[in-house]
């Protein structure tokens, strides 16, 4: 399954979004243009569906409430809206999920509209009669209720399968130095990363580690072997054997690994985990530019190796990654800040960019200059 179209209104710094999404999507834009906020829409859908989640949790606890979430450029029509179209190629089905919400007098999120359709047929349309009788019902989406979501369980499971990764090497090394989000499972920053690796089924774990080790040897040639094991205190460690001039390889743990080694390992492991949409935040960090330029191929190869068709959304500043003819105009969106909120643009709808891409220029040639910060010279302090 794949999110094929996203529409949103008043979401964080976006006044209005309406874009088609391909299986692979690169998101570029200047700093603070909203790349993470864009990805956050998908995390929000996940937060609605996971256990311990739901509308109140997703809006109030995780995102600071409706007023913090609502776009500053929102004026008339202030509801926050998220509307996705999901294509299921295997079953030849198209689902849509629409949610708009606002806040009640106690500033708690309250649903204005929730609609689910399958192949154009409406399965759910709220507010319904029951909602009118009991207004409290509108504080919960149908997604978060097992009884209510019976007819569209695949959508719920699909949203649950969204995973977001922004691994921070220091958090992987010293999880105790970083305060926990309160929930230990599935931490995007890697605090529980080695724990997760260690908890993987032994056979699966070893098979993945072998494949990752082989791939990583290209980037880190002196790396001989990768394993994960627990120390005397039960704390899991990633252990790498490095070859050197002595006859036996020396062992190092994640504490001694370079940032690049840890990030690359984290990225590869992440690709092996799960089947749902994967949101990657700047996967190029700490990596050599040659490796960065191969990231799209690395991702493709791992997914092929697994036989998994999985949507991957990548935010990036790396021109190296986009400088290839194999990236099509439909696979890129660029964010352009404006007074009326950030605009999400596609080369498909930009005549000039489309002509340039058709003339043999790459996304890096065309889109990176367009998405570069305006007035960069103001970074030059006047001495």
């Amino acid at each position: 399954m794949q999110i094929s179209r996203l529409q949103a209104k008043n979401w964080k710094n976006f006044r209005k979004v309406d874009v088609n999404l391909s299986y692979r999507l690169f998101l570029v834009g200047p700093n603070a243009s909203g790349k993470s906020n864009f990805l956050d829409i998908f995390r929000f859908l996940r937060d609605l569906c996971v256990s311990g989640g739901g509308l109140q949790q997703a809006v109030d606890v995780r995102r600071g409430g409706v007023s913090a979430l609502r776009c500053l450029a929102a004026r008339k029509d202030p509801d926050i809206t998220v509307d996705v179209e999901i294509k299921d190629d295997r079953n030849d089905e198209t689902w849509t999920y629409h949610l708009s919400f606002s806040q009640d007098r106690n500033r708690k999120p309250i649903i204005r509209k929730e609609v689910v359709t399958r192949n154009g047929k409406t399965l759910l349309s709220r507010p319904d009669d029951a909602d009118k009788k009991d207004a409290l019902r509108l504080t919960e989406t149908a997604l978060e209720q097992t009884v209510a979501n019976k007819d569209f369980r695949p959508v719920v499971q699909f949203f649950q399968s969204v995973s977001y990764r922004h691994l921070i090497p220091q958090a992987m090394r010293d999880p105790q130095d970083f305060s926990s989000s309160g929930k230990n499972e599935d931490d995007p920053f890697g605090r529980d990363f080695l724990q997760r690796v260690e908890n993987t089924l032994e056979r699966t774990k070893n098979s993945r580690l072998n494949k990752i080790q082989a791939a990583m040897k290209v980037a880190v040639p002196q790396l001989e072997k990768l394993e994960v094991s627990r120390d005397n205190y039960g704390v899991p460690h990633l252990i790498g054997s490095y070859s050197h001039w002595r006859p036996n390889a020396s062992k190092q743990t994640e504490a001694q690994f370079s940032d690049g080694t840890l990030r690359l390992f984290g990225l590869l492991w992440t690709l092996f985990e799960g089947n749902g949409p994967l949101l990657l935040e700047e996967p190029e960090l700490s990596l050599h530019s040659e490796i960065v330029s191969h990231l799209p191929q690395i991702i493709e190869k791992v997914l092929r190796l697994r036989g998994v068709r999985r949507q991957v959304l990548i935010s990036t500043h790396a021109a190296d990654m986009l400088d290839q003819d194999s990236i099509g105009p439909e696979e890129v969106l660029w964010l352009e800040p404006s007074a009326e909120g950030t605009l999400v643009k596609s080369p498909l709808k930009d005549k000039e960019a489309l002509l340039q891409l058709k003339a043999g220029l790459t996304v890096a040639d065309v889109v990176m200059p367009k998405s570069s910060p305006k007035n960069i010279d103001q970074l030059v302090l006047n001495l």
Partner: protein
């Protein structure tokens, strides 16, 4: 409003191109390239092909091409030039155009204007000439930031790009400069012609 996009070698060239285009009445669009001469050489055909709906102003330093005359660059790099693609060759290097505003650059560098050469297009290495002049500045800041520090083998000072970009934006007098540089004069004439056709 007529928008024009740019294809240039680097930041100073970008500032020059934007200033010239704005003076001719164009609205500056996107600036492509900024990855040196070889990038433009490799990609010029693509940008030329795509210049159907939009205007382009490409600027290349003759010195970097290792060819001897601008016509040669044009015929080798871009034999089928799109009329929307204005491709100009700087003789010999963007610094020639900056030095061509003799009064302006002398004031900016805080040197006697007698140090600034007259025939800027015949200089062997305009950038090194400019840096050598900067070494004679009365201001310590200019001497220390435009010229490479003693002991390094860098070719330019640590703030060279920033400062020369600032010179172009705030001080460079194109009307003065065109009097000393035929290639700049031609470039300005062509830009105005292109603007006239819009």
């Amino acid at each position: 409003m007529a928008f024009i996009n740019f294809l240039v070698e680097g930041r100073i060239d970008e500032a020059v191109a934007i200033k010239l285009a704005s003076s001719a009445g164009f609205e500056p669009g996107t600036c492509f390239g900024k990855k040196g001469m070889s990038y433009i050489k490799k990609k010029i055909t693509g940008f030329n092909l795509s210049a159907q709906g939009s205007l382009f102003f490409a600027l290349v330093d003759l010195m970097d091409t290792s060819l001897t005359c601008p016509a040669e660059v044009l015929s080798q790099w871009l034999p089928h030039r799109n009329p929307n693609m204005m491709f100009r060759v700087v003789v010999k290097e963007i610094e020639s155009w900056l030095l061509a505003d003799r009064q302006g650059i002398a004031e900016f560098l805080h040197v006697n204007s007698a140090f600034i050469p007259h025939a800027v297009e015949t200089l062997d290495d305009p950038k090194q000439t400019l840096i050598q002049i900067a070494r004679r500045s009365r201001r310590k800041f200019i001497r220390e930031t435009l010229a490479p520090a003693a002991g390094t083998t860098a070719r330019e000072g640590i703030l060279y790009n920033d400062e020369m970009t600032r010179f172009v934006q705030d001080h460079w007098n194109t009307e003065e400069a065109r009097l000393n540089s035929p290639s700049l004069d031609q470039c300005i004439i062509r830009l105005n012609e292109l603007k006239g056709k819009q």
